[in-house]
Amino acid sequence: MNLYQPYLMRVTEVIDETPDVRTLRLEFQDPKVAEEFTFSAGQFGEYSVFGEGESTFCVASPPTRKGFIECSFKMTGRVTRALRRLDVGDTMGFRGPYGNKFPLDTVMKGKNIVFIAGGIALAPVRCVIENVLDLRDQFRDVTIITGARSVADLVYKYKLEEWEKRDDVKLVACVDPGGETPDWKGEIGFVPNVVKKAAPSPVDSYAVICGPPVMIKYTLPVLSELGFPDDHIYTTLENRMQCGLGKCGRCNIGDKYVCKDGPVFTLTQIKNLPPEF
């Protein structure tokens, strides 16, 4: 098998998250690969529809749940439109896993974890959340703060309900002002303000934050004010990629390759990057 040859995947479930975000559950067609495939939270892959091309997404499901992977994507371009045409039983391609991982088994182990996500960026964070929840006794307090423009734009509503019910998880869901519905019981406000109000303790804590650049930009100072040191804040960078393997010359920021040195970076590392992301 050459480096760029994908595994064949069968679509086994299609979930509409929002009007333009869909989740596909995929199973490896080759039972041997299905058996042997492993990955770590934070890693990504190249998903493809044959005849249309490849797209880069994280694996949204956690490595602790075997036998399938899930990806969530927003319909925007040629490949995501083609992905949206797929139905249960259809075949597509996946190659990976690529990139580094969140250090759940080392520095984050035994700590409080604060998850902050905006919009579809709950997908990469969800992988880490479920990984942590599946190994719940290895971590202390778990706080999840997630927001979207409107109630309709919240992804993984069924997961939010599930996390809401758990008494070992503190969940804060919010929507932008004006995005609420009459029966909305969560917070109304922008993620940075909601984080400020929720004020998670920085003591023995690590934060995982993913979202649109504007959300990240205004939430990081809030985390710093709360007392989170830069090397306790993890995020992922999502540069355009083709190969995912450090060859195609596209995703680098200075001498760091997002596909190999990332996609998971601490804020300390990000502050040392040239401002080109």
Binding site: S48, G51, E52, N239, Q242, G246, G254, F277
Partner: protein
């Protein structure tokens, strides 16, 4: 060092034998529409070759084709079957390659073997024997000696030809080179002739060395530290963003992966050359573009070659062939840029800095 004497007749016989054995022989050939230009092309007989000039494009396309199919798929309703394309490129011998072109192969091996082995590249590498030709140094766009290569560099060569009266001396570099010339020609033991070779090499080096001083070892770090230097603001004003420099470059290796339907039932997946100088190379789905203007894109090209690659792989990603400057419609020159950057960095470049 093994050196053999090879006459024109020997080379003609060698090419004839290779062609008869179904080995592709590639050599610089005079361009039909422009007698002053050559291109690397497949030849059937040695007389078809025109050695000596710098071909318009590098040998890159024979090791890393401009487009290469690596997967074929067939679709039936929702089902897909994949057919892997066997990695069995035809055996080829490139004769008369420029040392600057050849030096790129060892450099590119590093990224192509970075944790993951790019079998497409290495299949071509293994199927290829390269016989370079000592370069006399061409014009003031050449700066191979500044970047660790040289007109006499055997880096990447299996053998190197050195023109002398009555034919060529062939310096054997690798086992592949030995296999090509081994039984064919006599070893040269004449010390005068060997001294002559050394003289030719020195002459060629001296000629190129005037153009640009050696890029200092501190340059990669200096560039990384000077990402925000005001110099970049004006550097790329003349750049059209056409990407021609990247296509003629022996070391530029950026690519994309794209699908191409052949019929209703299926198609192929290809790897195609891509260029970091084009506007949409890095654009995100959201529309955000980390390298949004030509300033950032040209800086990336200089950085990749003179800072990023040296820092990651210990080699400058440039062999000083000067093609980028020769083809640039805006008259940009990476050599000039590096020369000016070296001045800003406080080095004291000598030479004409063209």
């Amino acid at each position: 060092m093994t050196i053999k004497m090879v006459s024109h007749a020997d080379l003609a016989a060698l090419v004839a034998e290779l062609v008869a054995a179904n080995t592709q022989v590639i050599a610089p050939v005079q361009a039909k529409e422009n007698p002053a230009a050559t291109d690397y092309k497949q030849i059937q007989k040695f007389e078809d070759a025109t050695l000596g000039l710098l071909p318009r494009r590098s040998i890159k396309e024979f090791l890393f084709p401009q487009t290469e199919v690596f997967l074929r798929y067939k679709q039936h309703k929702g089902d897909v079957t994949l057919e892997e394309i066997p990695l069995a490129p035809p055996k080829q011998v490139i004769i008369g390659a420029k040392p600057c072109d050849v030096a790129s192969t060892d450099i590119l091996d590093k990224v192509m073997n970075w944790d993951y082995r790019d079998e497409l590249w290495f299949a071509h590498r293994e199927a290829t024997t390269i016989v370079s030709l000592l370069c006399p140094g061409l014009d003031n766009n050449c700066f191979c000696t500044s970047v660790g290569a040289g007109p006499d560099s055997t880096s990447g060569s299996d053998a190197m030809l050195i023109p002398v009266d009555g034919g060529y001396l062939a310096q054997i570099v690798t086992e592949k080179g030995k296999a090509l010339f081994g039984a064919r020609a006599k070893d040269v033991t004449d010390s005068k002739l060997i001294a002559k070779v050394e003289e030719l090499r020195q002459e060629a080096r001296k000629k190129v060395e005037q153009n640009l001083p050696v890029v200092p070892a501190e340059m990669p770090q200096w560039l990384a530290d000077n990402f925000a230097n005001a110099y970049w603001d004006t550097l790329a004003l003349r750049c059209h963003g056409c990407g021609a420099c990247t296509f003629v470059c022996p070391t530029c290796h950026c690519f994309e992966i794209a699908d191409e339907r052949e019929n209703v039932e299926g198609g192929v997946r290809r790897r195609n050359w891509d260029a970091c100088q084009t506007g949409k190379f890095t654009v995100h789905t959201s529309g955000h573009n980390p390298r949004n203007t030509q300033k950032e894109r040209f800086r990336q090209r200089v950085m990749h070659k003179f800072s990023i690659y040296p820092q990651r792989f210990g080699e400058v990603l440039c062999t000083g062939c000067g093609r980028c400057a020769r083809v640039c419609p805006g008259g940009m020159s990476i050599q000039e840029a590096v020369c000016q950057l070296m001045e800003i960095a406080g080095a004291e470049p000598q030479g004409n800095g063209q």
